[in-house]
Point group: C2
Chain length 360, copies 2
């Protein structure tokens, strides 16, 4: 439903209709000019050829430094989505199940289903602050469980896991011999301090996926990475060789420039999104929506008792505002997701229409 809404919004736009797009985690902010210039310089320097399916050595080294792991534990991927797909494909294609807390990013479930892996959904509730119940998690783990996916901070709730719960999940996973795949793509721009899976484990027994999209406003560039044990990195590289081959080197050079300018870029982005989150919180509260305060850009996942979110979403799209229905993130028909990723004035109009439509 997430992608269908997006293709529908794109189609309406191509027909000339004005759509305020609050449906995708795609920042309205431009990619910083330093990053664009780095890409251009790299292209002109001839970095337009096939290259290693591991990714460029200098970028892998830099990422290793940032996270305190070895270069051999890093592989560059065309977006963190590919990092997640390839990991799940390699670990689950021959059977087994994966536990996914909900609400979840749609792609996890669709990825698992694309090669017939079994998913076990672990429901969390807004009323509990979206906390994972460790007893419930333990009861879901069976002998075929190979992976637990964490998305921290979470899409769609923008909730960061509290350290104690994360401690518990890691402990349980270690005890049961289950691998955690921690998607931390919103981690570097979180409003609150979050713990990374690597804080538990510099030996890379567990897996971190991350990307440049959110931190550096580089969504459309398609570049991310995976940090894992060397064996999995080698396997993903082999899969890269027969699928995507390599991320364009000039894009890797652009990402490297982003990492070099990390502090100044990330703090700007954070400040901007904190303002927006504040605005959304105020407007939504007044209109009677319930939600948890965002710990990270870009999302709010409000609830309205009795809402039919698919109907509501389609109705809103007719009125020129695209959001994503709660059902795109699991069994949450009374919720919907707003991405605060449009220009400020559009967000304001969009929020007003959202609030107005809820009255009907």
């Amino acid at each position: 439903m997430l992608y269908e809404i997006n293709e529908k919004a794109l189609k309406l736009e191509s027909e000339g209709k004005k759509i305020i797009r609050l449906n995708m985690g795609d920042p309205d902010l431009a990619t910083p000019p330093e990053i664009i210039e780095a890409a251009y310089a790299s292209m002109k320097a001839g970095k337009t050829k096939y290259s290693s399916s591991y990714g460029e050595l200098n970028l892998r080294q830099k990422i290793g430094e940032v996270h305190g792991v070895k270069t051999e534990n890093v592989v560059i991927t065309p977006g963190s989505k590919w990092a997640i797909f390839s990991t799940m494909f390699l670990m689950l294609r021959s059977g087994g199940n994966v536990i996914i807390p909900t609400p979840y990013w749609t792609a996890y479930d669709l990825i698992a289903k694309s090669f017939g892996a079994q998913t076990k959904l672990l429901r969390t509730e807004m009323e509990d602050g979206w906390k994972i119940d460790l007893d419930k998690l333990e009861s879901l783990i069976d002998k075929d469980t190979k992976m637990i996916i964490l998305n921290n901070p979470n899409n769609p709730t923008s909730k960061a896991m509290d350290p104690k719960t994360l401690d518990g999940v890691v402990e349980l996973a270690n005890e049961k011999g289950v691998t955690i795949l921690s998607d931390e793509v919103y981690g570097a721009i979180s409003f609150v301090k979050t713990k990374s899976i690597l804080d538990y484990d510099k030996e890379c027994k567990h897996i971190l996926s991350n990307g440049f999209s959110k931190t550096f406003t580089m969504t459309g560039w398609r570049i991310g990475y995976l940090i894992a044990n060397k064996m999995l990195i080698d396997q993903i590289t082999k899969l890269n060789q027969i699928t995507i081959n390599n991320v364009p080197v000039f894009i890797q050079d652009a990402a490297l420039k982003g990492l070099e300018l990390h502090k100044q870029i990330a703090s700007k982005i954070k400040a901007k999104y904190q303002q927006r989150a504040q605005l959304a919180s105020t407007k939504l509260s007044v209109a009677g929506f319930k939600f948890t305060k965002p710990d990270a850009p870009f999302y709010v996942f409000p609830k309205l008792d009795g809402l039919d979110s698919v109907k509501y979403t389609l109705n809103l799209l007719d009125k020129g505002v695209a959001v994503a229905p709660g059902t795109a993130f699991g069994d949450y028909p009374e919720h919907f997701r707003i991405s605060l990723t449009a220009p400020d004035d559009q967000i304001e109009v969009g929020l007003d229409k959202i609030c107005e439509a809820a009255k009907q």
Copy 2:
């Protein structure tokens, strides 16, 4: 073995050793500056965001025009390799077999094996001019055969299929209800006129994969496309949504510029590679190698009776020349593949070392 040799060559280079790289189909020529400028302009215009998993409408339309098919029959992919992987994955993941003529591009076989599909190899011989034997093909087709892969012109032999054989393959495939996946990535820069699978079938019952890498010297940009029936295009788009998402729009804009300048770019590339093929043919003939005359850039696939191509290749790599052993393309231990994709002076030295090493 193809990718292992490449990673090995890259490693030797990173250690400071000078390697003449005749092992990959990666042109030494630079991407035309008009294409680079188009990418840069597009980035600066903000085309750095998520976009449709089908690809950009204007590029799909243009490709549709070039091939005489509808826009809805075109999907943009990160390289033709992804077009091939995703097609094979979708058509073969739930069982069935695929027939692949040999010598073949390594990736076809590795792709099939990555999700457990069965491959049936159809051997062709240099002595027969690499022609497919239609009786042999017919005998390989069984009730589980879902696909025949053609690579026309072929990598590694640079042989274009003669129209009569292609007629026969298409007729047989139609009769038996088997889909042809025709990889025509060398088609637009072929030295001889070749027939496309689309010449038989504007309704897209069969499938064409193609890319911008070879025609426009854009290997490292990772952009290609697939032409197929609408149902498959929709399925691939859904797979794109959970894997690569989209090819960066600024790369699609660059490819569109390439298509606009197609004639002038392709004719330059052809002329350059015809010279090189001529040089290689002369040197290799004198040294006693047997091979078929290249119909297309970039490869020659010579044979020397009694050669152990893996040993020969590793030995050559020690001497600073990377080529690919015949065993990387099927059961061809007496062959090896030379890519004429280095600067002219390097090719000359490389060819001399190749000829010299064969004497030992």
